[in-house]
């Protein structure tokens, strides 16, 4: 008992001593700490506005904040009971799932093909070019996509020249097509960059496996199918699980920049909807509530998915 007390006292002075000793370390952390406090935790505390009827104008923000009427979950109820909820969730999930359908297998295939290309320069050149769309902004990408898809653009000309269609298609004026355009645009932009993960996994494969297969007379295709592809399985499984965790992140930039009045029924994903009502229509509390619904559900999904991924990882080790 006595001994424990002494230990605690020693530890107590130790903490103060260490605090003093590390004052410069704390000073170094201060700017990042404050930036995070204001710009990350500030909005989290600001989520209180989803439970009040915040009205802009008149008095400072804080005054309004505390004077406003507390409405509980009314904004959430409003969101769920209007027809908007169904439409917004349909658009969000449809865009996400279609994006996964195209965007998930594409980098795997690209990585496998790049790995088979034995010409060093050609391989490196192709890989470098395939990253480019990842590094440009969606503003530039949207400018390019709009040009490609316009009535006298490259894609319509090819389709007409090949006799697939008689008249140019108004791609961006067609609601149901919008999901597909977003999904394919996402694939075009991220395919090359996402392939890096798989190429890294491929480079970790033991070359002796291929040598043994060659001795047994396995063709290049069989080597790919029986060695490379199975070696990628853990990476594929983990990335698939993580992708499910991000299913509500259907995007903002791509929809916002590519949409027009004719496709709003299909382009309004959850982030666009929150922005439209929250900032453009000044229904601040409602926008905050919609955003909060998304943040909370996304957080729960990510936590669940991370647990599953961890368990999978452990299994892969055994």
């Amino acid at each position: 008992m006595n001994q424990e007390n002494t230990i605690q006292i020693v530890r107590g002075t130790g903490v103060i001593h260490r605090l003093k000793d590390q004052k410069w370390l704390f000073l170094l952390m201060l700017p990042a700490f404050l930036a995070t406090l204001f710009f990350s935790y500030g909005p989290m505390f600001g989520l209180y506005m989803a439970f009040i009827n915040y009205q802009p104008g008149g008095g400072s923000f804080f005054e309004q904040f505390f004077r406003a009427e507390f409405v509980g979950l009314r904004w959430f109820e409003y969101f769920f009971t209007t027809g908007d909820f169904y439409r917004v969730m349909r658009n969000t999930l449809a865009t996400s799932l279609l994006s996964l359908f195209f965007g998930f297998p594409a980098p795997i295939l690209l990585a496998l093909m790049l790995n088979e290309a034995k010409n060093g320069f050609f391989k490196r050149f192709t890989q470098t070019v395939s990253y480019l769309p990842h590094f440009i902004s969606w503003v530039i990408a949207a400018n390019i996509i709009v040009t490609m898809l316009s009535s006298d653009g490259m894609i319509n000309s090819i389709l007409v020249a090949l006799g697939i269609v008689k008249e140019p298609i108004a791609f961006l004026q067609n609601g149901p097509l919008f999901w597909w355009i977003i999904a394919l645009s996402n694939m075009w932009k991220e395919m090359g960059f996402s392939a890096i993960m798989y190429l890294a996994a491929i480079s970790a494969i033991n070359p002796e496996l291929y040598e043994a297969a060659r001795v047994d007379g396995a063709s290049r295709f069989r080597q790919m199918y029986h060695i490379t592809l199975p070696s990628l399985r853990p990476t594929i499984v983990i990335l698939a699980i993580l992708a499910i965790g991000g299913i509500l992140n259907a995007g903002f930039d791509q929809q916002y920049l590519l949409q027009n009045n004719t496709v709003l029924e299909y382009s309004e994903v959850i982030d666009i909807y929150a922005y439209k009502y929250g900032l453009q229509n000044s229904m601040f509390s409602y926008g905050a509530a919609v955003g909060m619904f998304k943040s909370v559900v996304a957080f729960i999904l990510v936590v669940i998915v991370n647990q599953i991924a961890k368990r999978m990882n452990d299994q892969a080790l055994f």
């Binding site: 935790y41 440009i136 040009t147 929150a274």
Partner: protein, 296 residues
């Protein structure tokens, strides 16, 4: 055996056809925009410009040089990139160093404090309210301050610092150097390669950012190049819909087409710096990305 060889050739052919297709699909859109920006507006309206300009002119680029809105956009973008990038690299590195030290008091709590923000956020509207409360709406600071911190890049720098040999630091401590001196004189120079990488990433991020300028500033002199491009894009899309809905007079059409070639030229101007810079990143981002995967 002969059949196997034959199969290998077919497979090889498939591989190269696939890769050439990827190459074309990625590259041709950029090429097409470049070609369109170099073709005269009057000639473009006749259609058929895809792979090579028919009537080469630098008119649209000259027009950009006379367009105050675009020029100002370029200037604001350069300003935010040049000011914002080194500041954020410094703030990120200053945080990464203490968090890489095992002896740091409350290291676990601090890590949680920062990493939690990767998984949960308040969303756009409360964020806007914070900016408003801090009087940052329609000021240049909205481009710089919120981007100072980035947890993902911090983790990359921290991991690098954790692998540095501890002896250098210990011998400096014995010589009486404090943590500040050790950080600026010893750790920072050793970390330069990583800092260059995240600096390039941050610079590209600043160059590409459009939403902060679009939604949080009103003044014309605070519009970045990307925000100006959004405006040009919106104009094009409305014009496009009007012109396809009703037949416009030829002069109006020609006007639209000429503003369209300026759109191509402005897009090229916004793309060029990225094309020059991004191949240098290649060496580093493989490491960064695999690291990110391990983290999550």
């Amino acid at each position: 055996m002969a059949l196997e060889k034959y199969g290998d050739y077919v497979f090889k052919l498939f591989v190269y056809v696939f890769l050439v297709a990827v190459l074309l699909v990625t590259f041709l859109p950029f090429w097409n925009i470049l070609v369109l920006s170099l073709n005269s507006a009057g000639d473009t309206v006749r259609g058929g410009i895809y792979f090579w300009p028919r009537d080469i002119t630098f008119n649209s680029y000259q027009q950009i040089l006379n367009d105050t809105e675009i020029l100002n956009g370029i200037w604001v973008t350069i300003k935010r990139t040049v000011i914002g990038t080194p500041l954020s690299v410094l703030v990120i590195t200053m945080l990464a160093y203490p968090l890489s030290r095992r002896q740091l008091l409350g290291r676990k709590s601090f890590n949680l404090y920062f990493i939690f923000t990767m998984y949960f956020g308040g969303g756009l509207i409360p964020y806007y309210m914070v900016l408003k409360t801090l009087n940052m709406i329609d000021t240049f600071s909205v481009f710089i301050l919120p981007g100072l911190m980035n947890v993902f890049y911090m983790i990359i720098v921290r991991t690098f610092m954790e692998q540095l040999p501890i002896e250098v630091e210990e011998s400096a401590k014995v010589d009486g150097a404090n943590d500040l001196t050790i950080f600026f004189r010893i750790i920072l120079p050793l970390t330069t390669p990583v800092l260059a990488t995240i600096g390039l990433f941050q610079a590209i991020g600043h160059w590409n950012a459009w939403f902060d300028s679009y939604a949080f500033t009103y003044s014309n002199d605070l519009k970045t190049l990307q925000a100006v491009l959004v405006k040009i894009l919106n104009q094009f899309q409305t014009e496009n819909m009007v012109s396809s809905a009703q037949m416009l007079a030829d002069s109006a059409k020609r006007n639209a087409v000429s503003s369209n070639t300026i759109r191509m030229a402005a897009t090229m101007v916004a793309t060029l710096p990225i094309v020059i810079v991004y191949p240098f990143l290649q060496k580093y981002f493989v490491k960064g990305m695999t690291l990110g995967a391990v983290k999550s």
